[in-house]
Symmetry: C2
Subunit: 490 residues, 2 copies
């Protein structure tokens, strides 16, 4: 496997680069996770699905991956009930941000399970790393790249930019950055328009806040990812990913923080996923076209004609490269569903192809197409091309079945291993049979096929007819062909 | 509903007390959750199931509950690879306790979902509250009830006991406490044998550790629950629960810490669940009789004859009071399964009882038994008696059905509301039909019952026998009684 070199588009260099881990076989992967103050939206999920493929593929290639995806649970909720109420009476009446965090964290995990994502190895929370964040601020201050002002601490972008390449990731040029990007909050305390908060002084009304050397406050938005990625993956680690909307300012600031705290420290490969549109329009709550992941499954949204199985939604997503915008429509989802079913059929046919001498040509066409599918993944996870190759594989298999060709046993098991490896292990698609998870039904129907066969052999038409007539009323049909008898239920 | 007073056995007073929340309709409930360094065992799950009933019942009674159950994720893993290795190469090779935490937290959540437990409102983690724990230690030191020694901080039990009732919860008398309970670790630094650590100096090899005013270390075992319960529920809150093995020293020390940090601060009602045995023997790993929750479901354990649906396991547990030891056996589980099915039948029969004038007597017998069932829950959550009353309800319904009695519409809906309220809302039992989520199987089997009936009517024994013989091989049996024919599949 390792013979294939994996190429990744690195936002930092703007180039597709051969992936070389710092310390093989270990790979450190960090992805910016959800903010758990509302339900995870489909754009987030696309990012997590894309990096799920990367995580799975790295493991498939034999790497030992530590996949860290954070949960942003620092809320900025305020409580205006005032501090003068008797604490013991008021505590339970107060909004507690951690209740919201709990609700949406559990909800996010349930969605991840429905879509068959592998759990990250570590899911650190921002509130769980206040100590580490404070330590990192202290390092940045000690290196002279941050200053305290009125209970807050700001990163000194102007000073940093004199020594480092601020803007390297996003391509923004500091001199050209519109002064309108100024964050008005704290504007008076900042020395330079592009400076950003490492620590923000908390108001009396802020509910979540912590003591620090600079007073009671909250960590800045960009800090948690720097503190947590380096804590669990090391000062310099392999891959950092996220949605492209995080490139600036979030990831640019992450790099600055890490470099300022300890020179040479940052991720080596930065990867960004693209956005979602629906019927060609950007998803947004105000346009009422923002569909939640579980609504795709249930179909409970005005813009959806019906629900789609989660694996179909994933399969649909894979047909666009992660770095390109992805447009949802009912037509496209329905086409994806047909394609997904075709792929499943292909795998079933391959499993049932008789083993025999077979033709060398058929075998090599099949193996080549499968190796192509695998090879496309090494090209910056080119899932659309990978799936196109899998369709070619399916075509070949159908041709072989049509011509009643056999495959030699070794080739067959080799082909099945690659096919299943790509579909199950790398793409994380769980194929369903017609009657998945319904063992009892299968057992009963198999027994009925047996009764029917015996009756026909014995020309006991009463039994055969009774079964056919009695079961057709509930949608069961039996059919017979060369390979034997089968049943179907509608 | 509120007319019923809820009585709870309070370990603190040793009495059954009427429950009066501090600030109705709010109720603060804290339960000691799992340590996520291995799989949650059945004893833990019994505790969480018991408090799930309390949480559900309080909500049923109309209270607004904030249910906090912590996750203990502070590990004491050590890494002996030494600090001299190049950090950037070594980081990913090191054991990372948070990977273990992640694995078992997600596993625990999945088990909770399988057993139908409501999510707690907040699930705070120990590592997520280092700042709060350090603040609490500072308060205890400031009040003079703790001392620093060699980078650790100990709680001064001797001094505390002069002013407070140390031992109130567990009934331990300090003077009689065997000096063998001395925790050897840190023994030299402690002034008094019963003193316990609030902060422990970390060794070089300890992986999880944090800076503090006393140096690098880890919080003491008992501290997290005190810091987190009071943070989210207030200095004084309503109910604190856990397994009885936590009474001493854990809960006793929690009370001491809270009282020492702020006088008068603690939970008002302390509730403790009892232990599990299997075939009369204590569960333990060394006896190989410790069965994991999911093994009960799958049946994959030498001591289990087969798997049991999670709702049957819960139903079985409810037939013993939470404060009594609970003994598992295959016989008892199978008996519980029969009982559970009977209860389901009862509810189905009630749903199908014809509406009409009905007899006043029948109606009042039924309503009385249902109110009894509800009333038993007010008696310290007496689930065994509650279920006994539900069986009486089921008997009454069966009698009514046998005599083709009807119920007036109001009484019927009142009865159904109470029945479902107890079973679904309070006990969290999701009733399944025989073959839940298996509509196709039901359809097929109903059709087969039809074929069989027709064949028997027409004395077409060939068909009837073929069905019986062919299906018995896959575990299907048909049976006939007054109400008609039914089928079962094993």
């Amino acid at each position: 496997m390792k013979a294939h070199t994996l190429w990744l588009q690195n936002t930092l260099s703007g180039q597709k680069e051969a992936f070389e881990p710092i310390n093989p076989p270990f790979v450190g992967l960090y992805v910016c996770g959800p903010t758990v103050y509302n339900e995870v939206h489909m754009g987030n999920l696309r990012t997590f699905i894309s990096f799920d493929v990367l995580n799975r593929y790295l493991r498939y290639l034999g790497y030992t991956v530590r996949y860290v995806r954070n949960i942003t649970d620092v809320g900025h909720l305020t409580d205006d009930s005032g501090e003068d109420r008797v604490e013991k009476r008021a505590r339970l009446e107060k909004i507690e941000p951690m209740e919201i965090v709990q609700k949406y964290s559990r909800g996010f995990h349930r969605v991840s399970d429905v879509f068959g994502l592998l759990d990250p190895d570590i899911e650190p929370t921002a509130t769980g790393h206040i100590v580490e964040q404070i330590s990192m601020i202290e390092s940045v201050i000690a290196k002279g790249f941050a200053y305290e002002a009125n209970g807050s601490v700001y990163f000194d972008v102007e000073k940093y930019a004199k020594k480092h390449n601020y803007g390297q990731l996003s391509g923004r040029v500091l001199e050209e950055l519109d002064q309108q990007t100024r964050n008005l909050d704290g504007g008076e305390d900042k020395r330079f328009f592009a400076d950003f908060a490492l620590w923000k002084k908390a108001s009396d009304e802020t509910i979540m806040k912590w003591p620090s050397p600079w007073g009671i406050g909250v960590p800045g938005w960009h800090l948690e990812c720097s503190a947590m990625s380096t804590k669990y993956l090391g000062k310099t680690f392999d891959i950092h990913g996220g949605g492209m909307d995080l490139k600036f300012p979030h990831h640019e600031c992450e790099i600055a923080q890490c470099q300022a705290a300890e020179e040479g420290s940052s991720a080596r490969y930065w990867m960004h996923t693209n956005m979602l549109t629906i019927n060609g329009t950007k998803m947004s709550k105000s346009l009422n076209n923002s569909i939640l992941p579980m609504e795709f499954v249930s179909g409970e949204h005005d813009l959806l004609e019906r629900g789609y199985p989660p694996m179909v939604v994933k399969f649909f997503m894979y047909q666009t490269h992660y770095s390109s915008p992805l447009d949802f429509s009912n037509e496209a989802l329905q086409a994806a569903e047909k394609g997904f079913i075709r792929l499943q059929k292909g795998m079933e046919l391959l499993e049932n192809i008789p083993e025999g001498k077979g033709s060398k040509e058929d075998a090599s066409v099949l193996l080549d197409a499968l190796n192509d599918a695998l090879h496309h993944l090494t090209d910056d996870l080119n899932t659309p091309r990978c799936i196109a190759s899998l369709f070619e594989v399916t075509n070949s298999i159908q041709r072989m079945q049509h011509h009643s060709t056999s495959l030699d046993s070794d080739t067959k098991s080799q082909c099945l291993a690659i096919f299943k490896g790509i579909v199950h292990q790398v793409l994380g698609l769980e194929l369903s049979t017609n009657h998945a998870h319904n063992d009892s039904l299968d057992k009963v129907m198999d027994a009925l096929l047996g009764i029917r066969k015996k009756a026909r052999t014995e020309k006991n038409w009463a039994v055969a007819d009774a079964l056919r007539d009695g079961l057709s009323s509930v949608g069961v049909t039996f059919s017979d062909n060369k390979e034997g008898s089968s049943w179907e239920i509608k």
